[in-house]
Point group: C2
DNA sequence: CATTTATGTCAACGTCGCTGACATAAATTG
DNA sequence: CAATTTATGTCAGCGACGTTGACATAAATG
Protein backbone atom coordinates (compact mmCIF):
# COMPACT_ATOMS: atom_id res chain seq x y z
CA UNK A 1 0.00 0.00 0.00
CA UNK A 2 1.44 3.36 -1.00
CA UNK A 3 2.24 6.09 1.46
CA UNK A 4 -0.94 8.08 1.99
CA UNK A 5 0.17 10.41 4.74
CA UNK A 6 -1.52 13.73 4.76
CA UNK A 7 1.62 15.58 3.81
CA UNK A 8 1.56 13.95 0.40
CA UNK A 9 -2.14 14.51 -0.24
CA UNK A 10 -3.53 17.57 -1.97
CA UNK A 11 -5.32 19.93 0.34
CA UNK A 12 -8.30 20.13 -1.97
CA UNK A 13 -9.59 17.34 -4.07
CA UNK A 14 -10.80 18.32 -7.50
CA UNK A 15 -14.52 17.84 -7.90
CA UNK A 16 -14.02 15.65 -10.92
CA UNK A 17 -11.46 13.49 -9.25
CA UNK A 18 -11.33 10.17 -11.05
CA UNK A 19 -8.82 8.86 -8.52
CA UNK A 20 -11.37 9.14 -5.75
CA UNK A 21 -13.02 5.98 -4.46
CA UNK A 22 -15.88 5.84 -6.91
CA UNK A 23 -17.25 7.13 -10.17
CA UNK A 24 -16.71 10.85 -10.67
CA UNK A 25 -19.47 13.40 -10.40
CA UNK A 26 -19.25 13.86 -14.10
CA UNK A 27 -19.58 10.16 -14.82
CA UNK A 28 -22.66 9.98 -12.62
CA UNK A 29 -24.32 12.92 -14.30
CA UNK A 30 -23.48 11.55 -17.71
CA UNK A 31 -24.93 8.21 -16.69
CA UNK A 32 -28.16 9.80 -15.57
CA UNK A 33 -28.45 11.79 -18.76
CA UNK A 34 -27.71 8.78 -20.92
CA UNK A 35 -30.52 6.95 -19.17
CA UNK A 36 -32.87 9.81 -19.92
CA UNK A 37 -31.90 10.37 -23.54
CA UNK A 38 -31.36 6.69 -24.25
CA UNK A 39 -34.73 5.62 -22.94
CA UNK A 40 -36.43 8.37 -24.86
CA UNK A 41 -34.76 7.27 -28.07
CA UNK A 42 -35.62 3.68 -27.35
CA UNK A 43 -39.35 4.33 -26.96
CA UNK A 44 -39.90 6.99 -29.58
CA UNK A 45 -40.48 4.77 -32.61
CA UNK A 46 -43.28 2.61 -31.20
CA UNK A 47 -44.75 5.66 -29.48
CA UNK A 48 -45.18 7.29 -32.86
CA UNK A 49 -46.98 4.28 -34.30
CA UNK A 50 -49.14 3.91 -31.21
CA UNK A 51 -50.20 7.52 -31.12
CA UNK A 52 -51.68 7.25 -34.58
CA UNK A 53 -53.95 4.48 -33.41
CA UNK A 54 -55.83 4.78 -30.16
CA UNK A 55 -53.09 3.14 -28.15
CA UNK A 56 -50.24 4.24 -25.93
CA UNK A 57 -47.02 2.90 -24.53
CA UNK A 58 -48.84 0.86 -21.95
CA UNK A 59 -50.52 -1.16 -24.69
CA UNK A 60 -47.15 -1.98 -26.16
CA UNK A 61 -45.86 -3.17 -22.81
CA UNK A 62 -48.83 -5.46 -22.35
CA UNK A 63 -48.51 -6.86 -25.88
CA UNK A 64 -44.79 -7.40 -25.38
CA UNK A 65 -45.06 -9.42 -22.19
CA UNK A 66 -48.07 -11.40 -23.33
CA UNK A 67 -46.17 -12.12 -26.52
CA UNK A 68 -43.06 -13.38 -24.82
CA UNK A 69 -44.92 -15.30 -22.12
CA UNK A 70 -48.10 -16.54 -23.71
CA UNK A 71 -50.59 -17.97 -21.26
CA UNK A 72 -49.65 -15.80 -18.32
CA UNK A 73 -52.41 -14.89 -15.94
CA UNK A 74 -53.69 -11.41 -15.30
CA UNK A 75 -52.09 -11.49 -11.86
CA UNK A 76 -48.71 -12.36 -13.32
CA UNK A 77 -48.94 -9.53 -15.81
CA UNK A 78 -49.92 -7.14 -13.04
CA UNK A 79 -46.84 -8.23 -11.16
CA UNK A 80 -44.54 -7.64 -14.11
CA UNK A 81 -45.95 -4.28 -15.09
CA UNK A 82 -46.33 -3.18 -11.48
CA UNK A 83 -49.53 -1.25 -12.08
CA UNK A 84 -52.95 -1.51 -10.49
CA UNK A 85 -55.67 -3.81 -11.72
CA UNK A 86 -57.64 -0.83 -12.94
CA UNK A 87 -54.76 0.56 -14.93
CA UNK A 88 -54.22 -2.77 -16.60
CA UNK A 89 -57.91 -3.19 -17.27
CA UNK A 90 -58.05 0.04 -19.20
CA UNK A 91 -55.23 -1.21 -21.39
CA UNK A 92 -56.31 -4.82 -21.70
CA UNK A 93 -59.96 -4.26 -22.51
CA UNK A 94 -59.41 -2.39 -25.77
CA UNK A 95 -56.78 -4.91 -26.82
CA UNK A 96 -59.26 -7.73 -26.27
CA UNK A 97 -62.10 -5.82 -27.90
CA UNK A 98 -59.90 -5.10 -30.90
CA UNK A 99 -59.00 -8.75 -31.26
CA UNK A 100 -55.30 -8.43 -30.44
CA UNK A 101 -55.39 -10.31 -27.14
CA UNK A 102 -57.34 -13.41 -26.32
CA UNK A 103 -58.33 -14.71 -22.89
CA UNK A 104 -58.71 -18.39 -22.13
CA UNK A 105 -60.02 -19.83 -18.91
CA UNK A 106 -57.27 -21.59 -16.98
CA UNK A 107 -57.38 -25.36 -17.11
CA UNK A 108 -56.20 -26.02 -13.58
CA UNK A 109 -57.80 -22.96 -12.05
CA UNK A 110 -60.88 -21.83 -13.88
CA UNK A 111 -60.85 -18.44 -12.15
CA UNK A 112 -57.77 -17.46 -14.08
CA UNK A 113 -57.90 -15.73 -17.43
CA UNK A 114 -54.79 -16.72 -19.32
CA UNK A 115 -53.62 -14.21 -21.87
CA UNK A 116 -52.51 -14.89 -25.43
CA UNK A 117 -51.87 -12.80 -28.49
CA UNK A 118 -54.06 -13.47 -31.50
CA UNK A 119 -52.46 -13.57 -34.92
CA UNK A 120 -53.31 -9.91 -35.31
CA UNK A 121 -51.78 -9.27 -31.91
CA UNK A 122 -48.55 -10.96 -32.87
CA UNK A 123 -48.41 -8.97 -36.09
CA UNK A 124 -49.04 -5.68 -34.34
CA UNK A 125 -46.54 -6.38 -31.60
CA UNK A 126 -43.91 -7.15 -34.19
CA UNK A 127 -44.70 -3.97 -36.02
CA UNK A 128 -44.19 -2.02 -32.80
CA UNK A 129 -41.02 -3.86 -31.80
CA UNK A 130 -39.36 -3.83 -35.19
CA UNK A 131 -37.91 -0.32 -34.93
CA UNK A 132 -36.76 -0.96 -31.37
CA UNK A 133 -35.08 -4.17 -32.42
CA UNK A 134 -33.46 -2.34 -35.30
CA UNK A 135 -32.18 0.28 -32.89
CA UNK A 136 -30.80 -2.36 -30.52
CA UNK A 137 -29.33 -4.35 -33.37
CA UNK A 138 -27.49 -1.36 -34.73
CA UNK A 139 -26.27 -0.29 -31.29
CA UNK A 140 -25.17 -3.80 -30.31
CA UNK A 141 -23.41 -4.35 -33.60
CA UNK A 142 -21.53 -1.10 -33.59
CA UNK A 143 -20.68 -1.28 -29.91
CA UNK A 144 -19.47 -4.85 -30.03
CA UNK A 145 -20.08 -7.82 -27.73
CA UNK A 146 -17.96 -6.56 -24.85
CA UNK A 147 -19.81 -3.26 -24.71
CA UNK A 148 -23.11 -5.15 -24.80
CA UNK A 149 -21.98 -7.21 -21.83
CA UNK A 150 -21.18 -3.99 -19.98
CA UNK A 151 -24.51 -2.47 -20.91
CA UNK A 152 -26.37 -5.48 -19.56
CA UNK A 153 -24.22 -5.69 -16.47
CA UNK A 154 -24.74 -2.07 -15.50
CA UNK A 155 -28.49 -2.12 -16.11
CA UNK A 156 -28.87 -5.28 -14.04
CA UNK A 157 -26.92 -3.75 -11.20
CA UNK A 158 -29.11 -0.67 -11.33
CA UNK A 159 -31.97 -2.71 -9.95
CA UNK A 160 -32.67 -3.65 -6.39
CA UNK A 161 -32.12 -7.27 -5.47
CA UNK A 162 -35.81 -8.11 -5.72
CA UNK A 163 -36.36 -6.29 -8.96
CA UNK A 164 -33.33 -7.94 -10.48
CA UNK A 165 -34.63 -11.35 -9.53
CA UNK A 166 -37.97 -10.55 -11.06
CA UNK A 167 -36.48 -9.13 -14.22
CA UNK A 168 -34.18 -12.11 -14.67
CA UNK A 169 -37.06 -14.47 -14.07
CA UNK A 170 -39.10 -12.71 -16.71
CA UNK A 171 -36.21 -12.72 -19.15
CA UNK A 172 -35.39 -16.35 -18.47
CA UNK A 173 -39.00 -17.46 -18.37
CA UNK A 174 -39.86 -16.09 -21.75
CA UNK A 175 -40.89 -18.53 -24.38
CA UNK A 176 -37.80 -19.95 -26.10
CA UNK A 177 -37.32 -18.77 -29.69
CA UNK B 1 -16.56 -9.32 -51.20
CA UNK B 2 -17.22 -12.95 -50.21
CA UNK B 3 -19.19 -15.36 -52.36
CA UNK B 4 -22.81 -15.06 -51.32
CA UNK B 5 -24.40 -17.31 -53.91
CA UNK B 6 -27.51 -19.06 -52.75
CA UNK B 7 -25.94 -22.49 -52.96
CA UNK B 8 -23.63 -21.67 -50.07
CA UNK B 9 -26.29 -20.21 -47.84
CA UNK B 10 -28.23 -22.30 -45.33
CA UNK B 11 -31.83 -22.90 -46.31
CA UNK B 12 -33.11 -22.18 -42.83
CA UNK B 13 -31.52 -19.92 -40.30
CA UNK B 14 -31.89 -20.93 -36.69
CA UNK B 15 -33.97 -18.42 -34.73
CA UNK B 16 -31.38 -18.02 -32.02
CA UNK B 17 -28.41 -18.19 -34.30
CA UNK B 18 -25.49 -16.45 -32.60
CA UNK B 19 -23.33 -17.05 -35.68
CA UNK B 20 -25.66 -14.97 -37.77
CA UNK B 21 -24.63 -11.49 -38.72
CA UNK B 22 -26.05 -9.73 -35.70
CA UNK B 23 -27.25 -10.05 -32.14
CA UNK B 24 -29.52 -13.02 -31.45
CA UNK B 25 -33.25 -12.74 -30.98
CA UNK B 26 -32.73 -13.53 -27.35
CA UNK B 27 -30.13 -10.83 -26.88
CA UNK B 28 -32.44 -8.28 -28.45
CA UNK B 29 -35.37 -9.23 -26.26
CA UNK B 30 -33.16 -9.16 -23.19
CA UNK B 31 -31.89 -5.76 -24.19
CA UNK B 32 -35.40 -4.41 -24.54
CA UNK B 33 -36.42 -5.81 -21.20
CA UNK B 34 -33.33 -4.48 -19.48
CA UNK B 35 -34.20 -1.04 -20.81
CA UNK B 36 -37.70 -1.33 -19.39
CA UNK B 37 -36.78 -2.72 -15.99
CA UNK B 38 -33.61 -0.66 -15.70
CA UNK B 39 -35.30 2.62 -16.43
CA UNK B 40 -38.06 1.83 -14.00
CA UNK B 41 -35.55 1.10 -11.29
CA UNK B 42 -33.65 4.23 -12.12
CA UNK B 43 -36.66 6.50 -11.73
CA UNK B 44 -38.46 4.89 -8.84
CA UNK B 45 -36.67 6.57 -5.95
CA UNK B 46 -37.21 10.19 -6.99
CA UNK B 47 -40.72 9.32 -8.14
CA UNK B 48 -41.56 8.25 -4.63
CA UNK B 49 -40.30 11.48 -3.12
CA UNK B 50 -42.04 13.56 -5.78
CA UNK B 51 -45.38 11.87 -5.37
CA UNK B 52 -45.48 12.84 -1.73
CA UNK B 53 -45.20 16.47 -2.65
CA UNK B 54 -47.25 17.90 -5.46
CA UNK B 55 -44.63 17.20 -8.08
CA UNK B 56 -43.97 14.58 -10.71
CA UNK B 57 -41.13 13.25 -12.79
CA UNK B 58 -41.31 16.21 -15.15
CA UNK B 59 -40.46 18.56 -12.30
CA UNK B 60 -37.36 16.54 -11.55
CA UNK B 61 -36.26 16.69 -15.17
CA UNK B 62 -36.64 20.47 -15.24
CA UNK B 63 -34.75 20.88 -11.96
CA UNK B 64 -32.01 18.57 -13.19
CA UNK B 65 -31.30 20.41 -16.43
CA UNK B 66 -31.64 23.87 -14.90
CA UNK B 67 -29.27 22.69 -12.18
CA UNK B 68 -26.63 21.43 -14.55
CA UNK B 69 -26.97 24.31 -16.99
CA UNK B 70 -27.85 27.36 -14.93
CA UNK B 71 -28.90 30.33 -16.96
CA UNK B 72 -30.39 28.43 -19.86
CA UNK B 73 -33.30 30.03 -21.60
CA UNK B 74 -36.82 28.66 -21.71
CA UNK B 75 -36.34 27.85 -25.38
CA UNK B 76 -33.20 25.84 -24.66
CA UNK B 77 -34.95 23.88 -21.95
CA UNK B 78 -37.86 23.20 -24.29
CA UNK B 79 -35.39 21.85 -26.80
CA UNK B 80 -33.74 19.54 -24.29
CA UNK B 81 -36.94 18.19 -22.82
CA UNK B 82 -38.67 18.04 -26.19
CA UNK B 83 -42.06 19.03 -24.86
CA UNK B 84 -44.41 21.84 -25.77
CA UNK B 85 -44.30 25.26 -24.22
CA UNK B 86 -47.54 24.56 -22.45
CA UNK B 87 -46.31 21.32 -20.95
CA UNK B 88 -43.22 23.03 -19.66
CA UNK B 89 -45.20 25.96 -18.31
CA UNK B 90 -47.30 23.70 -16.15
CA UNK B 91 -44.12 22.29 -14.64
CA UNK B 92 -42.15 25.51 -14.42
CA UNK B 93 -44.82 27.73 -12.89
CA UNK B 94 -45.22 25.76 -9.65
CA UNK B 95 -41.44 25.48 -9.33
CA UNK B 96 -41.15 29.26 -9.62
CA UNK B 97 -44.10 29.88 -7.33
CA UNK B 98 -42.62 27.53 -4.75
CA UNK B 99 -39.30 29.33 -4.89
CA UNK B 100 -37.25 26.49 -6.34
CA UNK B 101 -36.55 28.11 -9.70
CA UNK B 102 -35.72 31.72 -10.39
CA UNK B 103 -36.06 33.62 -13.65
CA UNK B 104 -33.77 36.46 -14.63
CA UNK B 105 -34.17 38.67 -17.66
CA UNK B 106 -31.45 38.01 -20.22
CA UNK B 107 -28.72 40.63 -20.37
CA UNK B 108 -28.11 40.51 -24.09
CA UNK B 109 -31.68 39.72 -25.07
CA UNK B 110 -34.19 41.06 -22.60
CA UNK B 111 -36.97 38.90 -24.02
CA UNK B 112 -35.29 35.82 -22.62
CA UNK B 113 -36.04 34.48 -19.17
CA UNK B 114 -32.92 32.71 -17.98
CA UNK B 115 -33.52 29.93 -15.51
CA UNK B 116 -31.64 29.30 -12.28
CA UNK B 117 -32.17 27.13 -9.24
CA UNK B 118 -32.57 28.93 -5.94
CA UNK B 119 -30.81 27.55 -2.89
CA UNK B 120 -33.96 25.64 -2.07
CA UNK B 121 -34.06 24.39 -5.63
CA UNK B 122 -30.50 23.11 -5.42
CA UNK B 123 -31.27 21.38 -2.16
CA UNK B 124 -34.41 19.74 -3.48
CA UNK B 125 -32.75 18.63 -6.70
CA UNK B 126 -29.98 17.04 -4.70
CA UNK B 127 -32.46 15.29 -2.52
CA UNK B 128 -34.13 13.86 -5.61
CA UNK B 129 -30.89 12.91 -7.32
CA UNK B 130 -29.19 11.40 -4.32
CA UNK B 131 -30.83 7.96 -4.58
CA UNK B 132 -30.27 7.87 -8.34
CA UNK B 133 -26.63 8.75 -7.89
CA UNK B 134 -26.33 6.09 -5.23
CA UNK B 135 -27.84 3.58 -7.63
CA UNK B 136 -25.48 4.58 -10.42
CA UNK B 137 -22.51 4.63 -8.08
CA UNK B 138 -23.21 1.15 -6.86
CA UNK B 139 -23.83 -0.19 -10.35
CA UNK B 140 -20.74 1.51 -11.81
CA UNK B 141 -18.54 0.32 -8.99
CA UNK B 142 -19.66 -3.26 -9.07
CA UNK B 143 -19.67 -3.45 -12.85
CA UNK B 144 -16.26 -1.88 -13.26
CA UNK B 145 -14.97 0.78 -15.64
CA UNK B 146 -15.02 -1.39 -18.75
CA UNK B 147 -18.65 -2.28 -18.27
CA UNK B 148 -19.45 1.38 -17.71
CA UNK B 149 -17.78 2.20 -21.01
CA UNK B 150 -19.92 -0.41 -22.70
CA UNK B 151 -23.06 0.89 -21.03
CA UNK B 152 -22.37 4.41 -22.26
CA UNK B 153 -21.37 3.25 -25.70
CA UNK B 154 -24.52 1.23 -26.25
CA UNK B 155 -26.84 3.94 -24.94
CA UNK B 156 -25.20 6.53 -27.15
CA UNK B 157 -25.56 4.32 -30.18
CA UNK B 158 -29.21 3.80 -29.38
CA UNK B 159 -29.89 7.38 -30.36
CA UNK B 160 -30.33 8.82 -33.79
CA UNK B 161 -27.51 10.95 -35.08
CA UNK B 162 -29.28 14.20 -34.23
CA UNK B 163 -30.37 13.08 -30.81
CA UNK B 164 -26.89 11.89 -30.03
CA UNK B 165 -25.44 15.23 -30.99
CA UNK B 166 -27.93 17.00 -28.81
CA UNK B 167 -27.38 14.66 -25.87
CA UNK B 168 -23.62 14.97 -26.10
CA UNK B 169 -23.91 18.72 -26.34
CA UNK B 170 -26.04 18.80 -23.22
CA UNK B 171 -23.65 16.50 -21.39
CA UNK B 172 -20.62 18.44 -22.51
CA UNK B 173 -22.23 21.82 -22.03
CA UNK B 174 -23.15 21.24 -18.44
CA UNK B 175 -21.53 23.48 -15.91
CA UNK B 176 -18.08 22.10 -15.03
CA UNK B 177 -17.80 20.77 -11.47
C1' DC C 1 -70.87 -23.70 4.22
C1' DA C 2 -67.66 -19.94 4.97
C1' DT C 3 -63.60 -17.94 3.38
C1' DT C 4 -60.20 -16.77 0.25
C1' DT C 5 -58.61 -15.95 -4.39
C1' DA C 6 -58.68 -14.26 -9.31
C1' DT C 7 -60.78 -11.21 -11.91
C1' DG C 8 -63.74 -7.37 -13.53
C1' DT C 9 -65.80 -2.90 -13.03
C1' DC C 10 -67.46 1.77 -11.36
C1' DA C 11 -66.51 6.53 -9.79
C1' DA C 12 -63.28 10.04 -8.99
C1' DC C 13 -58.85 12.01 -9.25
C1' DG C 14 -53.89 13.78 -10.62
C1' DT C 15 -49.83 14.23 -13.75
C1' DC C 16 -48.20 15.16 -17.94
C1' DG C 17 -48.22 14.97 -22.59
C1' DC C 18 -50.86 17.33 -26.76
C1' DT C 19 -53.20 21.19 -30.06
C1' DG C 20 -54.73 25.69 -31.26
C1' DA C 21 -55.28 30.32 -30.30
C1' DC C 22 -54.03 34.63 -28.55
C1' DA C 23 -51.23 38.35 -25.86
C1' DT C 24 -47.01 40.91 -24.71
C1' DA C 25 -42.57 42.72 -24.98
C1' DA C 26 -38.35 43.11 -27.16
C1' DA C 27 -35.36 42.54 -31.04
C1' DT C 28 -34.74 42.94 -35.89
C1' DT C 29 -35.39 44.46 -40.42
C1' DG C 30 -36.87 47.09 -44.45
C1' DC D 1 -39.92 54.63 -37.74
C1' DA D 2 -43.17 50.93 -38.94
C1' DA D 3 -43.64 46.14 -39.77
C1' DT D 4 -42.19 41.71 -38.73
C1' DT D 5 -40.14 38.17 -36.16
C1' DT D 6 -38.79 36.14 -31.85
C1' DA D 7 -39.16 34.67 -26.86
C1' DT D 8 -42.26 33.91 -23.66
C1' DG D 9 -46.69 33.34 -21.20
C1' DT D 10 -51.41 31.83 -20.88
C1' DC D 11 -56.21 30.05 -21.79
C1' DA D 12 -59.39 26.25 -23.01
C1' DG D 13 -59.86 21.58 -23.97
C1' DC D 14 -58.38 16.85 -24.70
C1' DG D 15 -56.16 12.12 -24.23
C1' DA D 16 -53.25 8.53 -22.05
C1' DC D 17 -52.13 6.41 -18.02
C1' DG D 18 -51.35 6.10 -13.47
C1' DT D 19 -53.77 6.22 -8.64
C1' DT D 20 -57.41 4.78 -4.60
C1' DG D 21 -61.46 2.75 -2.73
C1' DA D 22 -65.43 0.09 -3.15
C1' DC D 23 -68.07 -3.53 -4.77
C1' DA D 24 -69.50 -7.87 -7.64
C1' DT D 25 -68.84 -12.56 -9.35
C1' DA D 26 -67.14 -17.07 -9.90
C1' DA D 27 -64.25 -20.61 -8.51
C1' DA D 28 -61.17 -22.80 -5.33
C1' DT D 29 -60.30 -24.14 -0.60
C1' DG D 30 -60.69 -25.34 4.25
Amino acid sequence: MPDMTASKMPLFIACDDEEHDGPSERALREGAELMFFGYRSFTQDPDKILSELDYGRAHHRALHFIGTQPGLSVAELLDILDVTKQSLARVLKPLIDDGLVEQRVGENDRRQRLLFLTNDGVAFEERLSAPQRARLTRAFREAGPEAVEGFRFVLELMMDEEQRKQALTVIAGAKPL
